[in-house]
């Protein structure tokens, strides 16, 4: 720790802190453009100038370390001033230079109202320009379908360049030319190739990089902001849903150090138009082979008739990736009351088993814990596609150095280097046997992280893979088993026990003709052909695979239209809030199930979401602790599982990062991204 006097106030700061951080700690506000906590220091905007006693010139506080300051002649702590006339004058000078070439087109700029330059110009700008010459104009660049560019507005802070190079790990953006002619661009105007590229829009302190799909849509002060969580993957990134009236207009990341820091994936951000398109806004009943619009009563009557005619053993329920804990709890309660044992929320063939303990299906070391790991083994997963934000965290750990990363599964560009150990179970068996250099590194690791993806679990020997992973990651006081789920609903479903009851069929068995009537709660990612001629009730939001197969469609609320609890892959209970009301006649899923239960004569014992939650919390108290990870209850039961590995490669279930759910498939923006990504793969293959 080092002592420092900031604006007359003596503070203790870490010696390696920058002056800017020290000033913030002392409560002083320091304006900045190029500096960002999560990126390397560039020191090129000069806006953060402060006065350091003894220095003949103002000092860029972001690039000056506290330990580099010299004490006074008698050993007094260094003195830093942030509010002196010199500082104000210096910053005004910097601002004037920045504005020389910045177009004053705020009225037509999408950044208006949330622009760092605009805000700071209010404090440090002067009311007139002394610059009589023409302003510099810069050609706009195409850098992808998600980011619109107005490069004349660029102040060359290079945050976007540093983000793509350091966090996203693709190095697509660069600054060509020099001096006044410096321009931010991709190579030959190609599109950026990162799943996190949308974040450069948030990073851009001016309106040079703005969201292309959101262009000219709304002003920030018109929007209602709702804090929520992202459900497009199992990471549970914190998001803010911005809506106006009944429409969700955009989704932005929210800070959550434990999960997503401040990034979100492009799928989470740009699913917005998919939430509005292809929506089911009224019930439908299949009459004579065609889906006909119907009233709720007609739809319920059709279901009641079928339920009455079908033995409970031939009824099943499958939940999809977007289902919240409340819906799963309600559906499970309804099915139990009907005497139905066939319920499942796991993908076909999945070996996840809640009876082995919560620790057997969680990302036990936690996402923030990735940074503590000293060896990382990835089994049957492509984290870049399955959890892009989590992959950025692994990359962050890799950049910090001294970590061995190994991969068993499909070789892919994960944005960091790894030892490729093989494609499938044989390589895992060899690793378990201690073969190879990586096995030694893993054995020597004190905090190994073993990430197991669905590609390795949804197999006949899935339980053995899990047990092998648990064994490889087990240390005293450290459970390195990290199950990386692909669906936001998965952990919540396992927590409420949405798995086959005694003698019940699992997803695979139901899809193999095990049922005559199936309730699909937003389940679109399963192979519906397996349902054969079964009567399908689809509760969901989009006219996707499930709705096409359905005999009765009950329109549900999309994730932004309901309040629901989700549990992310590390077991963190999170609350998604309602930003807008459901579309048309659509209702929140739990209330649909409640109403249906009434028609079926098995009325569920709750009349409101609050009552439902009270019942839920009574059955599983850990759901009440929002944003917390309940203790998984010691070691999992995987230790007792006999490891018998088959042969064969692990294949990640995610083929296309951009199209993993019905809302994403309905989105034009994500379709364009997907097409681009496919063409990139094609070019790479040629």
């Amino acid at each position: 720790m080092a002592k420092l006097i900031v604006d007359g106030q003596e503070i203790d700061v870490a010696a390696e802190a920058t002056l800017l951080q020290a000033c913030e700690q002392a409560g002083a506000e320091v304006p900045r453009f190029c500096f960002h906590e999560r990126l390397s220091i560039a020191g090129n905007c000069r806006m953060c100038l402060v006065e350091v006693k003894g220095s003949p010139k103002p000092v860029a506080s972001c690039a000056m370390a506290v330990r580099d300051l010299r004490p006074g002649p008698n050993g007094e702590p260094p003195v830093v001033n942030t509010r002196t006339p010199l500082v104000k004058k210096a910053r005004e000078g910097v601002m004037e230079f920045l504005l020389i070439n910045h177009p004053l087109d705020c009225p037509i700029c999408d950044q208006g109202g949330e622009c760092d330059l605009q805000d700071q110009a209010m404090a440090y700008g002067i009311d007139a320009s002394r610059y009589a010459l023409n302003k510099r104009a810069v050609e706009d660049k195409y850098i992808g379908p998600l980011v619109a560019t107005m490069m004349t507005r660029c102040i060359q802070c290079t945050r976007c360049v540093r983000f793509t190079a350091e966090v996203a790990g693709v190095g697509d953006l660069g600054a060509i030319g020099r001096g006044e002619d410096m321009e931010i661009t991709t190579y030959l105007h190609s599109a950026m190739g990162s799943e996190l590229q949308g974040n450069v829009v948030d990073l851009c302190p001016v309106g040079a990089l703005t969201s292309r799909p959101y262009a000219y849509t709304a002003r920030p002060w018109e929007l209602t902001k709702t804090e929520s969580v992202d459900v497009t993957d199992a990471v549970g990134s914190a998001i803010r849903v911005d809506s106006r009236g009944r429409e969700v207009l955009r989704i932005l990341p929210r800070l959550n150090e434990a999960v997503n820091e401040e990034w979100i994936s492009d799928k989470a951000r740009h699913i917005v138009d998919g939430l509005k398109a292809q929506r089911l806004d009224r019930p439908y009943v299949r009459v004579g082979g065609r889906l006909q619009p119907a009233s709720w009563a007609e739809a319920f009557a059709a279901i009641a008739a079928k339920v009455a005619a079908t033995p409970a053993a031939r009824i099943g329920a499958i939940a999809g990736d977007f289902a919240s804990v409340e819906e799963l709890f309600a559906l499970k309660a309804l099915m139990t009351s009907l005497g139905v044992a066939n319920i499942d929320a796991r993908p076909a063939g999945s070996a996840l088993d809640p009876s082995l303990g919560r620790a057997s299906y969680l990302f036990n070391p936690t996402i923030a814990g990735i940074e503590d790991a000293d060896a990382i083994l990835i089994i049957g997963s492509n984290p870049r596609k399955e959890a892009a934000v989590l992959n950025a965290r692994i990359r962050k750990r890799w950049r910090a150095g001294n970590v061995a990363i190994g991969l068993i599964g499909e070789a892919a560009d994960l944005t960091y280097k790894y030892d490729y150990l093989g494609a499938g179970a044989e390589s895992l068996a060899a690793l378990l046997g201690g073969d190879g250099a990586f096995a030694e590194k893993l054995a020597a690791a004190k905090k190994p992280l073993v990430i197991v993806g669905e590609g390795a679990i949804a197999r006949a020997d899935g339980k053995s893979v899990l047990a092998a992973a648990a064994k490889l990651g087990a240390r005293d006081g450290w459970n390195g088993l990290a199950v990386l789920h692909t669906g936001a609903s998965r952990v919540g479903a396992l927590d409420v026990g949405f798995v086959p009851a005694d003698g019940g069929l699992d997803t695979a068995a139901m899809l193999a003709g095990g049922v005559d009537m199936a309730f699909l709660l937003g389940a679109d990612e399963i192979d519906l052909a397996g349902l054969g001629s079964a009567f399908v009730v689809y509760v969901g939001t989009h006219g996707d695979a499930g709705a096409h197969r359905a005999d009765v469609i009950l329109p549900g609320a999309a994730v932004t239209e309901k309040s629901g609890t989700y549990v992310n892959t590390e077991g963190r209970v999170q609350l998604a809030n309602r930003a807008v009301f459901p579309l048309g006649e659509a209702r929140e899923d739990w209330s649909i199930l409640r109403a249906l239960s009434d028609v079926l004569g098995k009325r569920l014992p709750f009349d409101s979401l609050a009552e439902l939650r009270a019942a839920l919390y009574a059955s599983a108290p850990h759901f009440a602790a929002i944003e917390e990870i309940a203790d998984a209850g010691g070691a999992s039961g995987l230790g007792g599982v006999e490891i018998a590995l088959d042969k064969g490669a692990f294949v990640s279930p995610i083929k296309d990062f951009y199209l993993t759910n019905p809302a994403a498939r309905a989105s034009k923006v994500l379709a364009e991204c997907s097409a681009l990504a496919r063409s990139r793969v094609q070019v790479a293959a040629e």
Partner: protein, 279 residues
Amino acid sequence: MAVRRLAPKEVQPASFAFTAENEAWAAATIAKYPAGREASAVIPFLMRAQDQEGWVSEPAIRFIAEKLGMNTIRVLEVATFYTQFQLAPIGTVAHVQVCGTTPCMLRGAEDIKHVCQNRIHHDPFHLSADGKFSWEEVECLGSCVNAPMVLIDRDTYEDLTPESFGQLLDAFERGETPKAGTQIDRPHGGPAGGETTLTEMLAGAGRPAGADDMIAANMAAQGVARGVDPSVLASASAQADVSHKPGAYTTLDGAWYTEGGKHPSGSVDPAPASVRRTG
């Protein structure tokens, strides 16, 4: 300086590859850097590619990026940052880099530029009609003593006048390789007409043994290079010795001034404070 962009697609070659000789050089160059730091070789590689083709083409940038395991944009950043890299084709015979910085400008670089504009192309970085020449204006190349000057390939051509520069371009056009360096009668940056100072030393006073022979050999070599008979040279140095007297000044162009700032021709010394005292 203007925005530097890659040349349009139409002029870009289809592909680029190092010659066998350059490949061997490339392997040796990469080996100079520690493993994982291959990207450090990007500037030498770009220079080599430019030496091979005359300019840095888009396929060359991709080739180098691949060779060094870099992102193409990183190589493009370097190529566009340094103005020394030509991003468009240059004249097949000569690419003239005219120094336009203050000393050269004061000594007539503008006239040299006009010659370029008239003979090659009105605008820099454009090929002449026959594709043989191109030109650009560059910043100081360090030959201020011999201003004005141009750089063609790796050779400087100094003390130019529009006429001598025109003859220089003629010679290039004929396929000759004109003598590099100063285009007037002076030894490098020395005075026109031969050495005028330190002639006592040349005469042998207080020098170490063997130095005389070296100087003589040097002077003879220079004399031969300038086409001067060695015997004439000896007598010239003797004359210089006579004219050398304390209190005399010499200017950069080799003209003599007497003490008090009077030029032999009667004009007043234009800049007595800036001249070098030789006495």
